[in-house]
C-alpha cells in the first residue's frame, strides 16, 4: 500500500534493491528485540509500534496507514472497493455463495463495482472524508485472480488521486505472477493471508485450489499454495515492497502451528504479522461453520499473539473490516456511498485541502505522543508484576471520547509498569443483530470485556455503572475527552498505589468472548 507520491517506488527500489532490502531487513531484525531493559521488556513492541520503534524508512511508509500502524488507525481511514469477486482457491472459513473476502470471515459485500465505478467512489469518498488515505482491494475474491480489474482500478486512481496509498490483500496463489506489476504501480504494501506452511495442516483449511488450468485437492493443493505464498513473499521483500501477513487462528487446526508460520514469514522479510480469530457460526454456511469448528477466545488469541510477539511486530488492531467498508477502522459509512449515490455526485478532488487537513492531524498525533511520554515519566521507578487490561470507548483521535451506551467496540489496553500497550479491540454491536434483545446488550458487553479490570468511557448511565461494578469491572468516566494512554497510565499508577496501601486487592480476571460477525453499521442499525 503505497503513497504514489512520497516513496521512491518502482525504479528507486529496483536499482539498488539488494542493498536496500538487506538494510531494511537488518533493521527490522534488530528492532524485534524491543530494546526495553528489564521487567516485561516487550512493551514498546508490537502493534503499538510508534515512531521510535521502527526504522525511519519503514515508519515513513506506514505511519499514515491505518491498517499497519495502530497509532495511525486512530486518525486515518481506509476504504476497500470490491472490484474483484473471482477467487482461485477455496477456504473452509469462506462461503462463496454469499461472497467473501480475503480476510477471516464470510464477507458480506453488497455491490460489485467496475474499475471505473470504483475509481469514482474513491474520489467521492476522499473528497468527503479527508482522513481517507488508503485504498485497498481485498475481497470478495482475490484481487490477483482478477488482475485486469485490480490493476485498472489502481491505474485510474493513481492518475486522479495521487496522494492515496494503494494496497492489495491476496491469498498468495497468484502473487509471484504479479509482483512485477505491483511494483510498477508503486504498491509498496501487500497483505498475504498465510494460515499454514505445512501442507498437512493446509489440507484441513483449503479443500481445493485452481492453479495452471487445473483443480488440485488436499495436501497437493496446500503444498502448491504454501510454496507460492512463500515465493511471493520473498519476491516482495527482494523488491522492497512491505508485506503484512494475516493468519486466521483456527483452534485445534493451526493454532500451535502459527508459531512456525510466524518464524517462516519473519525469516522471509514480512514486516507485520496479524493473527486474527476465526469467525465461525453455522448461519454463515461455511464449512467450518457447519462442522461446528469454534473460534478462539480472547485469552487464547492474546496468548498466541504474545508468544509470537518476541519474533516480530504483531498487529492487534485489525477489525477484519468488511471488504467494501468505508471509514475509520471500526466505523462504517458505506451506506453514504452506494453506487447509485456516487454516480450522481459531482466530485471535485481537492488535493490542497486534503493536505491541510492531514497536517492538522499530524499535530494532534504529536500531542498524543507527548502526553503519553510525560505520563510515562511518572511511572519511572515503579516496580510491580501486576498487569491488567482495560477497555476504552473511543471515537478516534486517541481519546476517551465515546459514551458507554454508544460504543460499538472497545479498545483494549494492557497496563503494566512498562506503560499502556494496545492489545486488541472487542466489538459489542452484535446485540443489535438477531438473537439478542436490548436487555441483553449489557450482558453481551460484559462478556466481551470480562477480562478487563476497568472500562474508560466519556459518559455512562447509573444502571450500567452498577452492573459493571457487580461484574467486577470498574467504570471510569473521570478521563472523558482525555488522551487514552496518558489516562490509562495515570489510572494504573493510582491503582498500584491503592494495592500498595491495601485499599484494593489485585485479582486476575477471567476470559472474554470474541463476537462472531462482521462489523457493519448497516447491519447494526
Amino acid at each position: 500500500m503505497q503513497t504514489v507520491q512520497h516513496q521512491s517506488g518502482a525504479e528507486g527500489v529496483d536499482t539498488h534493491a539488494g542493498a536496500d532490502v538487506d538494510e531494511i531487513m537488518q533493521k527490522v531484525a534488530e528492532h524485534k528485540g524491543c530494546g526495553t531493559s528489564g521487567g516485561s521488556g516487550k512493551a514498546s513492541c508490537g502493534s503499538g509500534a510508534g515512531e521510535n520503534d521502527l526504522p525511519p524508512e519503514i515508519w515513513e511508509k506506514v505511519k499514515n496507514h491505518p491498517c499497519y500502524s495502530e497509532e495511525a488507525h486512530h486518525h486515518y481511514a481506509r476504504m476497500h472497493v470490491a472490484v474483484a469477486p473471482a477467487c482461485n482457491i477455496q477456504c473452509n472459513y469462506c462461503n462463496r455463495k454469499y461472497d467473501c473476502a480475503n480476510e477471516s470471515r464470510p464477507g458480506v459485500v453488497s455491490e460489485k463495482l467496475t474499475p471505473e465505478q470504483a475509481a469514482k467512489k474513491v474520489l467521492a469518498v476522499a473528497s468527503t472524508i479527508p482522513q481517507m488515505t488508503v485504498l485497498g482491494i481485498a475481497g470478495p475474491g482475490d484481487p490477483l485472480a482478477n488482475p485486469e480489474k485490480t490493476f485498472k482500478t489502481f491505474e485510474l486512481i493513481a492518475k486522479t488521486a495521487p496522494d492515496i496509498k494503494l494496497c492489495v490483500s491476496t491469498n498468495g496463489l497468484a502473487l509471484p505472477d504479479h509482483v512485477e506489476q505491483l511494483s510498477k504501480y508503486n504498491i509498496d504494501h501487500v497483505t498475504i493471508t498465510i494460515n499454514m506452511i505445512d501442507p498437512e495442516v493446509g489440507a484441513k483449511i483449503y479443500p481445493w485450489i485452481y492453479y495452471k488450468k487445473k483443480r488440485y485437492h488436499g495436501v497437493e493443493a496446500a503444498k502448491i499454495l504454501t510454496d507460492r505464498q512463500l515465493q511471493g513473499l520473498e519476491m516482495l521483500t527482494e523488491r522492497g515492497i512491505l508485506s503484512k501477513i494475516n493468519s486466521v487462528m483456527i483452534p485445534g487446526i493451526n493454532d500451535q502451528h502459527l508459531v512456525e508460520v510466524n518464524k517462516a514469514v519473519k525469516s522471509r522479510g514480512a514486516f507485520l504479522h496479524n493473527i486474527m480469530p476465526l469467525i465461525s457460526a453455522p448461519e454463515h454456511g461455511t464449512v467450518f461453520g457447519l462442522t461446528g469448528q469454534r473460534g478462539p477466545t480472547a485469552q487464547e488469541l492474546k496468548a498466541l499473539q504474545d508468544s509470537c510477539e518476541g519474533e516480530m511486530n504483531m498487529m492487534r488492531h485489525c477489525r477484519q473490516c468488511r471488504a467494501d467498508a468505508v471509514g475509520l477502522l471500526g466505523e462504517d459509512r458505506s451506506a453514504e456511498f452506494t453506487t447509485d449515490k456516487i454516480m450522481e455526485m459531482e466530485v471535485s478532488y481537492d488535493l490542497e485541502s486534503r493536505k491541510a487537513y492531514q497536517a492538522a492531524v499530524e499535530k494532534e498525533r504529536d500531542a498524543v505522543v507527548a502526553a503519553k511520554k510525560a505520563e510515562m515519566e511518572s511511572l519511572a521507578g515503579e516496580h510491580s508484576d501486576i498487569k491488567m487490561l482495560i477497555a476504552v470507548a473511543t471515537k478516534g483521535g486517541g481519546k476517551v471520547n465515546e459514551h458507554f451506551g454508544h460504543a460499538k467496540e472497545f479498545q483494549v489496553y494492557e497496563l503494566s509498569t512498562a506503560g499502556a500497550k494496545f492489545v486488541g479491540h472487542r466489538r459489542v454491536d452484535l446485540y443489535c443483530q438477531g438473537g439478542y434483545g436490548e436487555e441483553d446488550s449489557l450482558a453481551t458487553i460484559i462478556r466481551a470485556i470480562n477480562d478487563c479490570h476497568a472500562v474508560f468511557v466519556a459518559k455512562i448511565g447509573g444502571c450500567p455503572k452498577n452492573d459493571l461494578k457487580a461484574a467486577g469491572i470498574d467504570p471510569v468516566d473521570q478521563f472523558a475527552g482525555e488522551f487514552i494512554e496518558q489516562s490509562a497510565i495515570a489510572y494504573f499508577k493510582d491503582y498500584l498505589d491503592k494495592v500498595k496501601s491495601g485499599e484494593v486487592e489485585h485479582v486476575e480476571r477471567g476470559d472474554a468472548q470474541i463476537r462472531q460477525g462482521a462489523l457493519t453499521s448497516a447491519e447494526a442499525a
Binding site: P85, A86, C87, N88, Q90, R96, K97, Y98, D99, K112, P140, G141, A145, N146, E148, Y210, K213, K214, R215
Partner: protein, 74 residues
C-alpha cells in the same frame, strides 16, 4: 456438446469467464453468467478438465447440458 450454468447456483463471481478457452461464457444483465452452447467444446482439445467446472466455487453449478450431444473432437 456443451456445459451449462445452473442459474440458481451461480453467484456471479465471474471466475469462469476469463478461463474459458472458447470465450463461451458471458455475463447476463442480472450479473450472472451463461455459457453459449454453440461455442463450448467442453474444453476438449484445450485442457484436461472443463475450466468452468474447475474454477467455479459452487459445486454442481457448471454441469453437462443434456440437451446437447457430447462434443466430438474434430
Amino acid at each position: 456438446m456443451a456445459y451449462k450454468i445452473v442459474k440458481d447456483n451461480c453467484t456471479g463471481c465471474s471466475a469462469c469467464e476469463p478461463e474459458c478457452p472458447n470465450q463461451a461464457i458471458s455475463e447476463t444483465k442480472d450479473g450472472l453468467f451463461v455459457i453459449d452452447p454453440a461455442k463450448c467444446t467442453e474444453c476438449i482439445g484445450h485442457h484436461d478438465e472443463a475450466q468452468c467446472v474447475a474454477v467455479c466455487p459452487i459445486d454442481d453449478t457448471c454441469i453437462i447440458d443434456d440437451n446437447y450431444p457430447r462434443y466430438q473432437a474434430a
